[in-house]
């Protein structure tokens, strides 16, 4: 077997990432040129941490988008002669190199890492936004009304928070549970929240303008209904997306695990904000409770919520990685980073090269999110 020199490997990896680096260059140049007009984003990209965070995140975002042209091989394809190949080994038939070597099932580690970004970048933000809408929809009334609603919801949130996460995952994401209706019921319950949130938002805000209200409600219903059908019942009427039951299960488990944390933050923010004068003014005007919660309190709680959402996506990524590491939910051949780390960490005495790329990818992506969150926090402390 022929091998490339280390220098050639580095060069070749850079060449493979050309579409990504070009897209990044365009994005960052445009951002820096027009930073004065970009509001919060413009301020953030000026700071060192913010720029680093945005760079790392855009790198993985574009890698996920251009994965098909960045990766030279099929992430699931096995070429038997390349089993445990060292980095830079050249595959005889195609003449292309396994840049970062092959794993124990003779798949290209580099291509798997590149395609793994797709799974992580789709599931982690979506699951976080799901948990965010649950947390907002339950945290606002708990903080605003207090009393019994608060007592019940807080008890439930603390109940879930007291649950050891790994045990929760083992109980909820085991293959056996897919035979029962529990994951579907759980996911159905969670996926209702974004729709209800938008509905209540428009209902309370546009009651005086029936035409605008109707338009928004219909749009919400269409988009929400499509997503609901696609995710919960895996029956996309347009056949664009396919969501397997095990992926749905991951959504449900991750939303359940991180929802209570968001609930607590929203609740405490609401408790703080509801004492302000503008809330009292709205109460005096006779606004409905939901208008006050969604149009007065929520916009004023956005700063800490955005920072938390950013950190939370990173945390969700870590949770999904942990799921992969324990072999739960993801199919065993899946190229996502957690599964890849699990697969390779068993053989670390013999071959180290399949373990490093997914581990560093996971770390850098979470680092990007944490840097961005740090820059956002600094910015929100300034004003």
């Amino acid at each position: 077997m022929e091998f490339m020199s280390p220098f050639a490997i580095v060069l070749r990896v850079l060449i493979q990432f050309i579409p990504v680096s070009m897209a990044m260059a365009v994005l960052l140049t445009v951002s820096l040129l027009f930073k004065r007009r970009l509001g919060l984003y413009g301020f953030i990209i000026e700071t060192g941490t913010g720029f680093a965070g945005v760079s790392i995140l855009s790198f993985w975002l574009f890698t996920a988008i251009f994965a098909a042209s960045v990766a030279p091989f099929d992430p699931l394809g096995q070429i038997v002669s390349m089993k445990d190949a060292l980095p830079g080994a050249i595959e005889a038939n195609s003449g292309l190199p396994y840049l970062l070597g092959g794993d124990k099932l003779a798949r290209d580690v580099f291509s798997r890492m590149v395609f793994g970004s797709r799974i992580v970048l789709i599931i982690a933000p979506l699951a976080t936004f799901l948990a965010l809408s649950v947390g907002i929809m339950l945290g606002l009334p708990a903080g605003y009304f207090g009393k019994r609603i608060d007592a019940i919801l807080s008890f439930l949130a603390n109940l879930i928070l007291a649950f050891p996460i790994i045990l929760l995952f083992y109980l909820l994401v085991s293959p056996g549970i897919l035979e029962t209706p529990i994951p579907y019921a759980l996911a159905g319950f969670f996926f209702v929240f974004p729709i209800v949130l938008l509905f209540t938002l428009f209902w309370s805000g546009y009651r005086a303008h029936p035409k605008q209200l109707a338009l928004r409600l219909v749009l919400t219903l269409l988009a929400g209904g499509w997503l609901f059908a696609t995710f919960v019942f895996d029956s996309d009427p347009f056949h664009i997306l396919r969501v397997s039951p095990s992926t749905l299960n991951i959504f449900a488990a991750v939303a359940l695990a991180s929802g209570p944390g968001i609930f607590r933050i929203v609740r405490s923010l609401t408790l703080d904000i509801k004492t302000r004068e503008y809330v009292q003014a709205a109460q005096t005007r006779g606004e409905t409770p939901w208008f006050i919660m969604l149009w007065e309190i929520l916009p004023n709680a956005r700063g800490p919520l955005i920072v938390d959402a950013c950190l939370r996506i990173g945390y969700t990524t870590i949770l999904i990685g942990a799921l992969g590491y324990f072999g739960l939910g993801m199919p065993p051949e899946s190229p996502d980073w957690g599964t890849a780390i699990k697969e390779s960490s068993r053989l670390m005495r013999a071959f180290v090269h399949p373990a490093l790329p997914p581990a560093l990818a996971m770390m850098s992506f979470v680092l990007g999110l944490n840097l961005l969150a740090d820059a956002l926090r600094e910015q929100s402390l300034k004003d």
């Binding site: 007291a162 790994i166 549970i177 005495r349 373990a355 581990a359 770390m363 979470v366």
Partner: protein, 345 residues
């Protein structure tokens, strides 16, 4: 104060009851019972075989009755062999009472582990001791280093040292255990050969620097950044307080002010954070124990969950819920104790 404790204890008991009920429900789902029956009989057992095994061992009794019996508020009936009419133990490795008795968690009977073929208490106690040892060493490395880093970067906000240390703590919080474990094992285990990438020998031969360092520093790194950042934030706040300026103006040296005046007040907030790290550390410990094959609580939990070992899983969840609730209580009470402005009520 007493009312506060009693109310907290009541909430704790209710939480444990609810959680164990959920766990009991989930482990007794039909697919999970079948999994247990298959692993306990043989690989290719027929449906009738599985059904008869489940009936014979009492898994087909009413759900609530079994849950109440597990808690110990309902009598446990001895298992009677249908053919001979004599009492037989469900599992050969656990002695079971031959008369009708209350034998649940309240009475101190945690049941029988089907995976490890022993009593739950006999498996869980050594595992908890091992994990306690691991957690102690993790805390003993993580907390002092984190506090030191936090104080160092918080005492002069915005300095070069502060910025450098902030980046360090962001990097460590972005490195979950399964990433740092892999990277550290590659560097120190495979390449340098200084440390052992497995802690399996720690159970038999005792812990050594060689086999225990990696399992300790792996979760310590992940948790360190968070505590350091909290300490830094608290330190920054204290350093801008009036009494610090007064101390400086009356001519005290910078380090004297930091050590004598700032430090004590700056450590109140991190105390809560550190106490709340325990439950979170438990998750990390599970990953680390699986990764380094350390025979502790985490590995027992994962093995129990993988084989649907009902009694062991219930006891594991009980232990971890207890840990979460007790640390919460300590952190609340300790916070009030450290900060005289807050009263427990």
């Amino acid at each position: 104060m007493l009312a506060f404790f009693l109310r907290r204890l009541g909430v704790m008991a209710l939480t444990m009851l609810c959680l164990t009920f959920v766990v009991f429900y989930l482990v007794n789902l039909e697919p999970n019972l079948r999994k247990l029956a298959i692993s306990q009989t043989e690989m290719h057992a027929s449906d009738e075989h599985i059904e008869s095994w489940l009936t014979r061992n009492g898994y087909r009794r009413p759900f609530l009755e079994r849950y109440a019996a597990w808690i110990g508020v309902w009598p446990k009936k001895p298992n009677i062999d249908a053919e001979t009419g004599k009492q037989v133990s469900r599992f050969t490795y656990c002695e079971e009472p031959s008369v009708v008795v209350y034998a649940g968690v309240i009475e101190g009977d945690f049941g029988c582990s089907t995976k490890f073929k022993t009593k739950v208490a006999e498996k869980l106690l050594p595992a908890l001791r091992a994990t306690g040892l691991l957690m102690f060493w993790v805390m003993a490395t993580m907390v002092p280093v984190a506090l030191f880093l936090g104080i160092l970067s918080g005492m002069r906000e915005g300095s070069k040292l502060d910025r450098a240390l902030s980046v360090v703590s962001i990097v460590t919080t972005s490195t979950p255990e399964y990433v740092s474990g892999v990277v550290l094992t590659i560097i120190f285990g495979t390449w340098l050969g200084w440390l052992n990438g497995s802690a399996a020998s720690a159970t038999g031969d005792g812990i050594t620097f060689y086999n225990f360092t990696l399992p300790v520093i792996t979760p310590a790194i992940y948790g360190m950044g968070y505590i350091a950042r909290m300490t830094r934030a608290s330190m920054v706040e204290v350093m801008t307080a009036q009494y610090i300026r007064t101390a400086r103006l009356k001519g005290l040296g910078f380090y004297a002010v930091v050590l004598k005046h700032a430090l004590r007040n700056a450590l109140i907030a991190p105390f809560t954070v550190i106490m709340l790290q325990f439950p979170w550390l438990l998750t990390g410990v599970v990953i680390v124990e699986v990764m380094f094959r350390y025979q502790g609580f985490g590995l027992a939990l994962v093995d129990a969950a993988g084989n649907n070992d009902i009694d062991l899983m219930l006891s594991c969840s009980l232990v971890s819920v207890l840990l979460v609730l007790v640390t919460q209580l300590i952190s609340d009470v300790g916070y009030a104790f450290l900060n005289p402005r807050i009263r427990v009520q």
